[in-house]
């Protein structure tokens, strides 16, 4: 869902042709800009999930600057695509929204604001309601792989398979870290693909930092006859070497020096 914030400057929103090389280059630049603001935002707030937010910046950029049907000038447009995300993605989500023109970037740094964050079940409810009314929009849900530890998630996966919700796409940010350690040590998930396929889902595995892969997977998901889950293998903390692949950075905010070091590395 989109936040209701005061409108200021509206950024020009280009429509990307998914088959031109230049489009993907632009997406990469946008993702880097988002990463920088994410670092600034978390450092200023003093708390936040640094690693997963940096790792999923490419997914959010591909969604908002590429695949999504939306209009930043009309945040309550009836036919817009719906996006839901886990609460830990709040910084990267807000930054992407600001960069795509929903509100000014300067609002990001004016105190903390909690974005509406919902569980996977709410996303599925929204998609189910759309299916009942034969609406054409698509519902996306971005969430972290450690949510798969929860029982509620599997309840929902079962129900989506039952209703054959082909207007629903779940993007799993397979970062492989959580607060206490590496995912496969804390609570092993593999073989994930077989598990999801057994729940009657259409599974696509991609590299979560390759925009070409992400966009083509999102396009494929729109035309599937089953609910689609995109398992995006990401490197947590992508772009900043001292954060990459370290579970200690799961829920830690950078200090002033670390912020500066990260920003210079992202140049």
């Amino acid at each position: 869902m989109t936040p209701q914030l005061p409108k200021t400057k509206v950024y020009k929103h280009k429509t990307y042709k998914f088959y031109s090389k230049r489009g993907y280059m632009d997406l990469k630049k946008k993702a880097t800009a988002v990463r920088k603001d994410v670092i600034r935002m978390i450092a200023r707030a003093g708390k936040g999930h640094t690693a997963v937010n940096l790792g999923s910046a490419d997914i959010f950029a591909a969604l908002y600057f590429g695949a999504l049907k939306h209009n930043p000038r009309k945040p309550t447009w009836e036919e817009r695509d719906r996006v839901f995300a886990g609460s830990q993605y709040s910084p990267v989500w807000q930054t992407t929204l600001a960069h795509s023109g929903y509100f000014s970037v300067k609002y990001l740094f004016q105190g903390q604001r909690e974005l509406e964050a919902h569980g996977l079940s709410a996303a599925l409810g929204s998609a189910l309601a759309a299916q009942m009314d034969n609406k054409k929009h698509h519902t996306y849900c971005v969430f972290s792989d450690h949510e798969l530890n929860k029982g509620e998630t599997w309840e929902v996966l079962m129900l989506a398979g039952k209703h054959r919700l082909n207007n629903f796409t779940l993007i799993i940010d397979r970062s492989n870290i959580q607060q206490d350690g590496y995912m496969e040590e804390v609570m092993p998930l593999e073989p994930l693909r077989a598990k999801l396929e057994a729940f009657n889902w259409n599974v696509i595995e991609i590299d979560g930092h390759n925009h070409e892969h992400i966009i083509s997977a999102l396009n494929e998901a729109r035309n599937a006859s089953k609910p689609t889950v995109i398992v995006a293998h990401t490197i947590p903390g992508k772009g900043v070497r001292f954060i990459e692949n370290k579970y200690e950075w799961y829920a830690k905010a950078p200090t002033k020096e670390e912020e500066n070091a990260a920003l210079t590395e992202l140049q």
Binding site: L124, G125, A129, M132, M158, L159
Partner: protein, 367 residues
């Protein structure tokens, strides 16, 4: 005899014809709550989730975000986190619980935006379902298991307003759900022993009808609560300990227990063990009503309480005033009569034809 569930199911079947937005979710409890009929008639508006009670509430929340009125038939002892989301965002989800655990109302009371309704019998369940559908926002509807004797066939129903079922001067019994019948029966028995009891049907536990509870407590001087779960008693005690400390005794839905509690409370009152009732009549009137009971002004805006009415009358434009108060009707008087049940004040308001006259009448009454 028709059960409480029948009332809910029948009301739902009627409403489903009128409102296309209604969707029903079931946690393997269609049989128990009597919604099989709905499922057969409107299969495309019925979601069967199996025993998955956690995701059911989340899915109902998602549907409400898309503009649906979601009836979630599930117990709430498993899914507190999802309920928090509904309460915080004030989503239009109606949770219908027929499982009847002892703790459920106590759990629901911790959610500030949740309206909690416990119907007493078939008729009240029907009225409550209709009122909950019209109302916007989360509602928790607790359907009693037992076949309840009919007590509320002729009473009116408004969310957030307690019904006075019987008047007496010695003690107030506040009951809800299936305990109401027992409370009325006990009150009849006690009147033979020269203890006259007021009986309130407090079907809406949150937000509580503070006006009715406080004025009744002021008149009778002691309170007994009767319920089959845990929720009404604590709510009443919370309110009274702050503003009007009178003896309160909490009882179960059992007739013997109610009798004992009433005698206990009346004796306590006579011994004057509790401190004197403070003469703060004005304070209780400041308390606001449930948003459903607000007086909606013609030009926009709402009045929340009787002092609020006085203030609004003085600031009101002539146009608005003549819209609400003219030869054919007097909305202010009706509102005071219906919501606050203060017939004397309503009469005085009806007599005076100007806003200032009404304001003076209210000021006099407040003193």
């Amino acid at each position: 005899m028709k059960t409480i569930n029948d009332g809910y199911a029948e009301a739902l079947a009627e409403l489903a014809k009128q409102k296309e937005d209604i969707v029903v979710l079931s946690a393997d409890s269609a049989e128990k709550t009597g919604i099989k009929q709905f499922a057969q008639k409107h299969p495309n508006r019925f979601v069967q989730c199996g025993k998955a009670k956690q995701s059911l509430i989340g899915i109902a929340a998602g549907m409400a975000m898309e503009g649906k009125i979601a009836f979630a038939n599930a117990c709430i002892t498993e899914n507190y986190d999802q309920l928090r989301m509904i309460s915080r965002k004030k989503l239009n989800v109606k949770i219908v619980d027929a499982d009847n655990s002892e703790e459920d109302v106590a759990i629901a009371r911790t959610l500030p935006e949740m309206t909690i309704i416990i119907p007493a019998d078939y008729h009240e369940a029907k009225k409550a379902t209709i009122a909950a559908t019209v109302m916007k926002g989360p509602v928790y509807l607790r359907l009693g298991k037992e076949k309840a004797a009919v007590t509320t066939e002729k009473t009116s129903f408004m969310i957030g307003r307690a019904e006075i079922m019987r008047a007496g001067k010695d003690c107030t019994i506040i009951a809800c759900g299936t305990a109401l019948y027992e409370a009325l029966k006990t009150a009849e028995k006690l009147s033979q022993q020269e203890i006259e009891c007021t009986v309130l049907d407090c079907h809406t536990i949150q937000p509580l009808d503070r006006h009715a509870v406080m004025s009744s407590a002021r008149l009778t001087g002691c309170i007994v609560t009767a319920e089959e779960q845990r929720g009404l008693g604590p709510a009443i005690a919370e309110l009274l300990s702050q503003y009007l400390p009178v003896p309160v005794r909490m009882s179960t839905a059992d007739s013997i227990a109610i009798t004992k509690a009433v005698k206990d409370a009346v004796l306590l009152k006579c011994e004057n063990i509790c401190p004197e009732i403070p003469e703060e009549h004005g304070k209780m009137l400041v308390t606001e009503m449930h948003p459903e009971l607000y007086f909606k002004l013609h030009g926009g805006g709402a009045i929340k309480s009787i002092p609020g009415l006085k203030k609004a009358l003085l600031e009101m434009s002539n146009e608005t005033f003549s819209y609400h108060c003219n030869e054919h009707r007097n909305d202010f008087s009706n509102w005071v009569k219906e919501v606050f049940r203060e017939p004397l004040l309503a009469k005085q308001i009806e007599k005076s034809k100007t806003p200032i006259g009404m304001a003076i009448a209210i000021t006099r009454w407040l003193k």
